[in-house]
């Protein structure tokens, strides 16, 4: 009956080990551990089976024990046999020593399963919480960027505004060119006026010469009037009037000449100032236009950079969501693995209890101990298989 139970246990464990091995392709030590468990169980079951046969045959020798390639432990009496074991019961010693070695391996397996890290999931969840917080912040940033600059409508509006501003600048440049042309024409007009004034002043100078000649004529006429006596009295009156006229003409010419001179100076200063001021204004307007053009280019660059940034953030959020989904899926495998490890641990514990019952001598005496040589051999073999600190610690704890 007991043998049947063991066979069921073994079958279940072997199936579980195989399934877990397939599931845990990336986890190296658990398949090795499960193999060790299966091997230990195989030894236990084989020995139990032998014991069953031997107890029925009532005859036993070491030559009759089956060889088990997975546990190459020579079947021989323990160097320190059970103290109260009757010396005559050789069969019990032969059976229990390897069985207890197998039990030792099961204890190791049980201990090792208890050392499977349980903090992994908590650590991953903590990391996920941070990633989720970061993802949420990134989403907010992305939405803000889109609302401020990043969306297509806003970007289009900025481009339209920039286009309008550029058109305005073009119109201002045209107006500025017109203004320069107008100023130039005005300056030319003033310069022409200056020339006309100069011509007027030259004419006045000629009038002065005519007046001098007229005075000379009047003087000669006065001499001629004096020479002809009383008959020339009427002629004297005319000569005097002529003199007065010449004097008045000279005064008038002088005043007009002075006036034209002032006009000419004023005109010259006006031309000079107009040309100078026009150049200054044109230069300032040009600087203003250039600054505005730079501002527009900067606005467009910022707008484009903002759109690109918004898109980058969106892509980061998408990538983070994809990664988070991957982590969630991995955690499910982790959870399933943990549950299977717990199942295996339970079954190992159960089988170990049953094997202890089988190995326990009927008279209640202590279990036989394997000799130290076999324990050392087992430790050496397990250490060679161990890859992790936990495995080595478990060996040091159990295989002593």
């Amino acid at each position: 009956m007991k043998m049947g139970i063991y066979i069921i246990y073994l079958s279940a464990l072997s199936a579980l080990a195989a399934a877990t091995t397939m599931l845990l392709r990336t986890n190296a030590f658990i398949p090795v551990l499960l193999s060790a468990i299966a091997a230990a169980l195989a030894v236990g079951a084989g020995l139990w089976s032998d014991r069953f046969i031997q107890s029925n045959q009532k005859a036993l020798s070491t030559d009759n024990l089956p060889e088990n390639p997975s546990t190459p432990i020579p079947v021989e009496p323990a160097t320190e046999p059970i103290a109260q074991e009757p010396a005559s019961d050789e069969s019990r010693i032969v059976i229990t020593a390897p069985l207890i070695l197998a039990l030792l391996e099961l204890t190791y397996a049980d201990t090792l399963l208890g050392k499977v890290p349980v903090e992994t999931e908590a650590a991953v969840f903590a990391l996920m919480d941070r990633l989720i917080a970061l993802r949420d912040q990134s989403e907010k940033a992305s939405k803000s960027a889109a609302a401020t600059h990043g969306d297509a409508a806003t970007s289009s509006t900025i481009n339209n505004l920039a286009g309008d501003a550029k058109a305005t600048i073009t119109r201002v440049r045209v107006a500025l060119a017109d203004m320069r042309k107008h100023d130039k024409n005005a300056a030319a007009g003033l310069q022409a006026l200056g020339k006309e004034l100069t011509s007027g002043m030259e004419l006045l100078a000629e009038i002065g010469e005519i007046t001098e000649r007229s005075r000379l004529i009047a003087f000669n006429m006065a001499i001629e009037a004096a020479r002809i006596g009383s008959q020339g009295n009427g002629f004297k009156v005319i000569v005097n009037e002529l003199r007065n006229l010449n004097d008045q003409t000279a005064v008038f010419s002088k005043r007009v000449s002075e006036l034209l001179g002032r006009f000419k100076k004023f005109n010259e200063s006006l031309v000079e100032k107009s040309v100078k001021d026009s150049a200054v204004v044109a230069e300032e307007v040009e600087h203003g236009i250039q600054d505005e053009e730079k501002a527009i280019e900067s606005l467009l660059a910022i707008s484009n950079a903002s759109v690109a940034l918004s898109r980058d953030i969106e892509q980061v959020v998408v990538a983070m969501n994809r990664d988070l989904d991957g982590v969630l899926e991995s955690l499910q495998f982790q959870d399933i693995t943990r549950q299977m490890v717990e199942g295996v641990q339970f079954m190992v514990s159960e089988v170990r209890s049953k094997m202890i019952q089988v190995a326990q001598p009927a008279d209640g005496s202590p279990l036989a101990k394997p000799d130290q040589f076999h324990i050392n051999e087992l430790r050496t073999r397990l250490l060679a298989l161990a890859h992790t600190k936990g495995e080595k610690e478990a060996i040091q704890e159990v295989i002593i």
Binding site: E121, F125, M128, I132, N321, L324, D325, L328, E329, L331, Q332, F333, Q334, D335, I336, R338, Q339
Partner: protein, 118 residues
């Protein structure tokens, strides 16, 4: 929308909670069917995500108990379990479950299922 996640695994409850949270659900958790029934009876639950193999009260027993209680009978239930035997699926569906998902599940798969039934 409020979902009740009934599963004996803390990890799985949190995983499902995160997945549903991304779809705008708020989540309640229960570690077995009996606690699940008690929380559902309090009201306000729009969806139940239900494991099968749990201590105290299994998922199948939860479905049977839910069907008998008029106040919670109409809450849609999505089974979420590692057990994918056809007989089990048929039994769960016959007891009123709306869909059957197998762990490990993909978030898109879960959300697509919910979009069909909720």
């Amino acid at each position: 929308m409020k979902a009740l996640i009934v599963d004996d695994s803390t990890t799985m409850r949190k995983i499902v909670s995160i997945a549903l949270g991304a779809a705008g659900y708020t989540c309640e958790e229960a570690e077995n069917g009996r606690i699940g029934i008690e929380k559902a009876m309090l009201g306000g639950i729009d969806l139940v995500m239900l494991d099968i193999n749990m201590p105290v009260m299994s998922g199948i027993e939860f479905l049977e108990a839910k069907a008998k209680s008029a106040s919670i009978a109409k809450i849609p239930v999505v089974m979420l379990t590692t057990q994918d035997e056809k007989e089990l699926q048929e039994k769960a569906l016959s007891l009123g479950a709306k869909a059957f998902l197998v762990k490990p599940f993909k978030k898109e798969e879960l959300l697509a299922t919910l979009a069909k039934i909720v």
